[in-house]
Structures are given as structure tokens and as C-alpha cells.
């Protein structure tokens, strides 16, 4: 697979796919994060506003339950009668019964701090409390001093139960002579439980109550009740990371105004702390706290985080799948490419073989066209050679015939006319013979009729024939030309007529190109030791114009001759005859002038 990505474009494609995948993941993660934050913020706002409403409602409820106690105390403080303790006690019992869910009891204390009566406690038991002096208690001292009602902070009593005391002074006459106090004791646990139960369950928070001096009246942790908020006990329980903001928040809350503030705990958990001052009898006394942890928002956050992670994961999966698909496509491409490559190679091979075939065809065609050309040339020359002698024969014959037409019975024929007719007819005969030979050679049906004969005889007769021919055609040349031959008897076993033809041909060639000078014929026999054969070598040397350099390499092919008198077939025929005797024929230009033709044939 790795080999697939090696190409530059493939690497680019993969990087592109990976890049797009990562970008989409990051984008989605961020978008989800933003959405989560927004949703979280909305949820937090919701929680915050709910907490504010709840705290407000709770403070009203608190007032609602404290108010009857205050009212009862006010009434009792006005109706207590030292002369009718019994009657007053009955009223106190009734009052206690009306508020017993909250109040522990109502106490009547005289101006000296002695208990006069306690609700729902009979007089005999009260008599046993006669030694108790309560004149130093705040709920006694302060109303005595101020002639006003008193609301205590959380006070821990001897029995370790924190209580809240509300006391009203008993004032007599217009001078308002202090005659003692009426006190109601409230069990803080009861108050807290009540407030907690009044809290809507959706808020899922805790209720707290603190007096205006910062003393904790109620809290979820009972051990903190009665403790100052900046004291060691409380502070040790406040988490380090929020201590600063938390303390300053509490300090603000003690200024008598309402508020709601968020605290972020370690680990990012958010809690809204709502505070509401509680006014009793028009006086600011306590502050009610409701803490609402952003459980929902946190849950939403978790959900959204899950969603965020899920969508990121999904995108990563999609990316991975895309990557896989990209790999598949690339590998498919690779396979296709290799298929295309192998097909291309096949095609190339096919093409090459076609090209080779074409070349073969071309060369075959070339051979054919050369053959055609030669054939055409042959026909052309044959036509030339055939037609040329016809004209004088026909010309003379027609001339003579015309004379007969003029009514003559005899006409004059001169020697030249007769010679011309014979000469040209012979030429035709020679040509016919050459053409016949060529036809035989080309159809490979040249047959040799071998016999034993003396080479000397045929050379001598050829010389005579040539001389006779020259005498009739060109007697002037005969005078200027010497044909020399030293007779020598050499017997060969060959086709006599064909060898005669070769010798006559070579001889007439030499004579043709030697206007003046000499033609010398020599024969000899020579033993070739490598083949253990004796050869007869015939050479014909002239002093003529020599062989044209252009012609020399193809001297023995058809129509190679530059002569305009021959057919250009003589040497070709000669070569074919010598070859079929198992011999060789060749020619060289002499150093001084002219050329020498050789042929050799096995003697036997």
C-alpha cells in the first residue's frame, strides 16, 4: 500500500484528505464547544434566575413564619399580668401550640431575670427553675436596655442545641417601666429543615442563613452554626480556590442588599449563590442564602461534551473512512495504472512487432519494387533492342516494296541494304537468345550439357568470329586492334556451347571498349590445395577505356552496362553460366589502361 502514496500527486491528495478531515474535526469541535458554552450559559442563566426567584420566595416564607412568632411575642408582652400568672400561662400555652412547628417554647422572665412562666410547663417544674438567673442573657439585656424587640443570632445552649431567640420587653405604663421580657426560642434545625423543605427541588441547592453581623444561623453543616463567617472553622471548610471571591461575596451580602453571583469551584463546577436580606419589623436582621450548583448546566455541558466528542469522533471516523476510500481509489488507480501500463507495454510490443513486420514488408516491397524496376528496365531495354533492328529491316523492305508498286517487276537492291537486313536480323536473333537465357536463368532451369573439350579450340574459334564480325561492321577498328592469344591445350569438362558463349561475350566486350590497342587472352590451370581441385583460369586483358567506377560493383548484374550497343545482359548471363559450373567470374581495371576479365571453372 505504501508504494501507492509515493507519487507526488498521491501524497498531495492524501495530505489534502487528512488536512480537510482535521480541519473539519477542529471546526466541529470548536463549534460544539461554542454551542456547549452557549447552552451552558443559557442553563446557568436559567439556574441563576430560578435561584433568585426561589431565594426571594424563601425569604418571604421565612418572614411569614417568623412574623407570627413576633406578633405573638408582641401581644404577650402587652398582656402579661404578674397578678394573674396562671391566666397568662394559659395564653402562653395556646400561643406555643399555634407556632409549635417552629418554636420550642415561650418564656416569661421578670425584670430580675427570673423565669416566671414557660409555655406548656407546669408551675411546679417552673418553681424548680427559680434559682436560674437569666439577667445576663442578651435576649434579656438588650430589650431591657433598648425597650425594643431583640432577635438573636444562633446561640448554642447548654444542651448543645443551637437556638434562635426572639424577645420583646414587657413595659408597664406610659413610662414604659421595664418589667421583664417575653422570649421565644426557635430551634435552628427546625427552621433550617423547614426552609430546606420549602426550597423547590429543581434548585437542588442548600439554604443558609446568616445574621447581619456575619454569624451563621443555619447551614447544611450543623457544626458551623453560630460561627463567624471569617472564623477559622468556617474558612477551613471553604475551598482554597474560591476563598477570596467567596468571602468578598459574603461581605457584600451583609450590606443588606440582594444579589446572585456565580462561583466557579475547582474542576469548573459552577454554583450560583443567591442572597436576600430578611427584614423583620422593618429592620435588616438576616441574610438568606441559597446555593444552586449548576448541576443541570454541568450535565448539559457533559452531554454537549459527549456530543462534541461524538461529532469529533464521527468526523475522525468519516475522515478515516475518506482516507481509506482515498487509499482504495489510489490503489485502484495504481492497479488501473499498472493495468494500463502493462496494456501499453503489450500495445507497444504489438506495435513493435507490427513495425518489424512493416519493415519486413517494406524490405519485401523494396525488393519487389527493385525487382519491378529491374523487370521494367528489362522490358524497356528489351523493347529498345527489339525495336531498333526492326526499323531498318522494315524500312528497307517497305522501300523495296514501294518500288514494286510503281509497276516494276524488278528492283535494284544494293549491298548495304542486304547487309543491313542481315545485320539487324542477327541482332534480333542474338537478343532472342539472350532473353531466352535470362528466362532460363531466372526460372532456374538453365541446364548444362557437360562434355570433355579443348578450351583452346573454342578460344580460337571465338577470336575468328569476332574478327569476322569486325571485318563486316568496323574494318577500321580491326586494323587498329591486336587480338593476341598463345595457343595452349587445356581440356575441361564443361558445357562447351555455354563456355563458348562466355568467352565470346567477354571477348566482344573487350573489343567493343577497345577502339585501338590490344586484347590479350590467356589460359592456365591451377590447383587449389584447400579444396584439392584444379581450376582452369581464363583471362581477357584489354587496353581500352576500362570499367566505370560506378558500374564496377554491379558489373555482373542485369543492365549494368553503359554500352548502348548491347543488351546489358551478356555479363549477367556469363556469370550465371560460370556459377552453375561451380566457378567464379570477376573483373579488375588495369593499372595502366583497360580492364581484365577473369573466370575460373573446375577442370573436371
Amino acid at each position: 500500500m505504501l508504494s501507492i502514496v509515493l507519487s507526488r500527486i498521491n501524497i498531495f491528495l492524501l495530505i489534502l484528505v487528512i488536512g480537510v478531515g482535521i480541519s473539519l474535526s477542529i471546526l466541529s469541535y470548536h463549534y460544539s464547544g461554542l454551542t456547549a458554552d452557549q447552552i451552558g450559559e443559557i442553563a446557568s442563566n436559567d439556574i441563576r434566575s430560578n435561584a433568585i426567584i426561589e431565594t426571594d420566595g424563601l425569604s418571604k416564607t421565612l418572614l411569614h413564619i417568623i412574623d407570627p412568632v413576633s406578633t405573638n411575642l408582641e401581644i404577650l408582652s402587652k398582656i402579661v399580668n404578674y397578678s394573674n400568672i396562671e391566666g397568662t400561662s394559659i395564653i402562653m400555652d395556646a400561643v406555643q401550640n399555634s407556632t409549635r412547628s417552629l418554636t420550642e417554647g415561650y418564656y416569661w422572665i421578670d425584670e430580675n431575670g427570673k423565669i416566671v412562666s414557660i409555655s406548656n410547663v407546669n408551675s411546679s417544674i417552673i418553681a424548680s427553675y427559680s434559682g436560674i438567673d437569666l439577667s445576663n442573657r442578651e435576649y434579656f439585656v438588650i430589650p431591657k436596655e433598648t425597650h425594643a424587640s431583640y432577635y438573636s443570632s444562633a446561640i448554642e445552649s447548654i444542651d448543645k442545641v443551637p437556638r434562635l431567640y426572639i424577645s420583646f420587653p414587657v413595659l408597664e405604663g406610659s413610662n414604659e417601666v421595664f418589667k421583664g421580657v417575653i422570649v421565644a426560642s426557635i430551634k435552628i434545625h427546625e427552621l433550617g429543615r423547614f426552609l430546606q423543605s420549602e426550597l423547590a427541588p429543581q434548585v437542588a441547592g442548600n439554604v443558609g442563613l446568616m445574621d447581619k453581623n456575619g454569624i451563621i444561623i443555619y447551614g447544611s453543616n450543623p457544626s458551623l452554626i453560630g460561627k463567624y463567617y471569617l472564623g477559622e472553622e468556617f474558612q477551613s471548610l471553604v475551598p482554597e480556590e474560591i476563598r477570596g471571591p467567596y468571602n468578598s461575596l459574603l461581605a457584600r451580602s451583609l450590606k443588606g442588599s440582594a444579589g446572585a453571583e456565580d462561583l466557579i469551584l475547582f474542576g469548573g463546577n459552577k454554583t450560583t449563590l443567591t442572597y436576600q436580606p430578611v427584614f423583620i419589623g422593618g429592620k435588616y436582621l438576616w441574610t438568606l442564602f441559597v446555593s444552586s450548583p449548576h448541576q443541570l448546566a454541568a450535565e448539559v455541558g457533559v452531554l454537549i461534551n459527549n456530543q462534541k466528542n461524538f461529532s469529533t469522533l464521527m468526523i475522525l471516523i468519516i475522515g478515516a473512512v475518506a482516507l481509506g476510500i482515498a487509499f482504495l481509489i489510489l490503489s485502484w488507480n495504481k492497479r488501473l495504472e499498472s493495468a494500463v501500463n502493462s496494456r501499453t507495454i503489450e500495445l507497444k510490443d504489438a506495435n513493435n512487432s507490427l513495425l518489424r513486420y512493416n519493415k519486413l514488408l517494406e524490405s519485401a516491397n523494396e525488393k519487389l519494387s527493385i525487382h519491378d524496376k529491374m523487370q521494367k528496365e528489362f522490358i524497356n531495354i528489351a523493347a529498345h533492342e527489339l525495336r531498333t533492328p526492326i526499323m531498318p529491316i522494315l524500312g528497307d523492305a517497305i522501300y523495296l516494296e514501294r518500288q514494286f508498286e510503281e509497276g516494276k517487276t524488278e528492283v535494284m537492291v544494293d549491298r548495304e541494304q542486304v547487309s543491313s537486313i542481315i545485320r539487324n536480323a542477327k541482332r534480333l536473333r542474338r537478343l532472342a537468345s539472350d532473353i531466352l537465357d535470362i528466362t532460363k536463368i531466372e526460372s532456374q532451369s538453365l541446364k548444362l550439357n557437360k562434355e570433355q573439350f579443348n578450351l583452346n579450340d573454342i578460344i580460337q574459334s571465338s577470336i575468328s568470329d569476332i574478327k569476322a564480325q569486325l571485318l563486316s561492321s568496323n574494318p577500321e577498328q580491326l586494323e587498329n586492334l591486336t587480338i593476341s592469344y598463345e595457343p595452349k591445350d587445356i581440356f575441361v569438362f564443361a558445357d562447351k556451347n555455354r563456355i563458348t558463349q562466355v568467352i565470346f561475350n567477354l571477348l566482344s566486350n573487350s573489343v567493343k571498349f577497345t577502339e585501338k590497342g590490344s586484347v590479350e587472352i590467356m589460359i592456365k590451370s591451377e590447383r587449389d590445395t584447400t579444396t584439392d581441385t584444379t581450376y582452369v583460369i581464363v583471362s581477357i586483358k584489354d587496353t581500352g577505356q576500362g570499367i566505370d567506377k560506378d558500374i564496377l560493383p554491379r558489373l555482373f548484374t542485369k543492365f549494368a552496362s553503359k554500352s548502348f550497343e548491347g543488351t546489358g545482359l551478356g555479363l549477367f548471363i556469363s556469370k550465371s553460366i560460370i556459377n552453375s559450373h561451380g566457378g567464379k567470374i570477376w573483373a579488375v581495371n588495369n593499372h595502366d589502361s583497360g580492364a581484365t576479365f577473369y573466370f575460373s571453372i573446375p577442370q573436371q
Binding site: I379, N380, I390, M391, F564, E565
Partner: protein, 139 residues
């Protein structure tokens, strides 16, 4: 046709001089005899291109009315003779005679530089040759 040619022939009062070139002496003899027998032509024959060209050079313009030459000749062939003559006197009327197995189209294809108007295949029918010469003289 003959009468028309005769009427249009500016040389009709004078014998036309014809140069015939061929390496075949027998052919020269026949052509010379057969043309001169008509008493319309005076024939000068040459057996080589060189001899013919020399004679052409040595005579004034218009000395030869028509030149008839063989193509296949040793040393200087008919085409070479044609070129030399045309170079000197482009308006000279030249006809080819040949024994080659070739037609006019093939001829033009092989040698496009030569404008072959008159092309006679051997063996020549003398009546055809006479007619050809007369039409060349009239042209």
C-alpha cells in the same frame, strides 16, 4: 490535313532542313532516304550527340527547321542534346524518337524538366514521321 499544313507552311517554297540524330547508322540511312524522297526535306544525319551539337553551333539561327533525336545514345544522350540546344536557342523545334517502352505521361513523370510535345516510338512509320515534321514546321 496535309493541304492545310501546306497552306500554313511558311517554308513551303523552300525545303525544310531536318537534323536527325541516332547512333544506329542503319536507322539514319532509312530516315534520310525516306524523308528526302519526298523532295520536301533536306536531311542532315549525325550518329552522335556531340557531332550534332557541333553542327548546330556552327550554323546560324534557323538553319535547322526541325531536330529529331534518339534518346538512348552513348556519351551524350538525346536529353542532354535537347538541353544544350534549348539553352542556346529556346525556340528550336525538337522531337524525340525512341525505342523505349514508354508513353508520354511516364516520360513527363521521369523527366519533368523536358517539355515533350513530340514523341515518336520506333519502329517509325515514315508517314507518321512526315506528318509530325510538317505539323511541327507549321506550329
Amino acid at each position: 490535313m496535309t493541304s492545310e499544313v501546306e497552306i500554313n507552311n511558311p517554308y513551303k517554297n523552300k525545303m525544310a532542313r531536318i537534323m536527325v540524330v541516332d547512333d544506329e547508322k542503319d536507322i539514319l540511312r532509312i530516315i534520310k532516304r525516306d524523308l528526302e524522297i519526298t523532295n520536301e526535306f533536306q536531311v542532315e544525319v549525325f550518329s552522335s550527340g556531340h557531332d550534332a551539337l557541333n553542327s548546330f553551333k556552327n550554323h546560324e539561327l534557323g538553319y535547322y527547321d526541325v531536330i529529331i533525336t534518339d534518346i538512348r545514345m552513348p556519351r551524350m544522350n538525346g536529353f542532354e542534346l535537347y538541353r544544350h540546344i534549348k539553352e542556346m536557342r529556346p525556340n528550336t523545334k525538337i522531337a524525340f524518337i525512341t525505342a523505349f517502352e514508354i508513353n508520354k505521361d511516364e516520360f513527363t513523370k521521369v523527366l519533368p524538366s523536358i517539355d515533350v510535345k513530340d514523341f515518336i516510338i520506333k519502329p517509325i512509320d515514315m508517314n507518321d514521321l512526315i506528318f509530325k515534321i510538317k505539323s511541327m514546321l507549321a506550329a
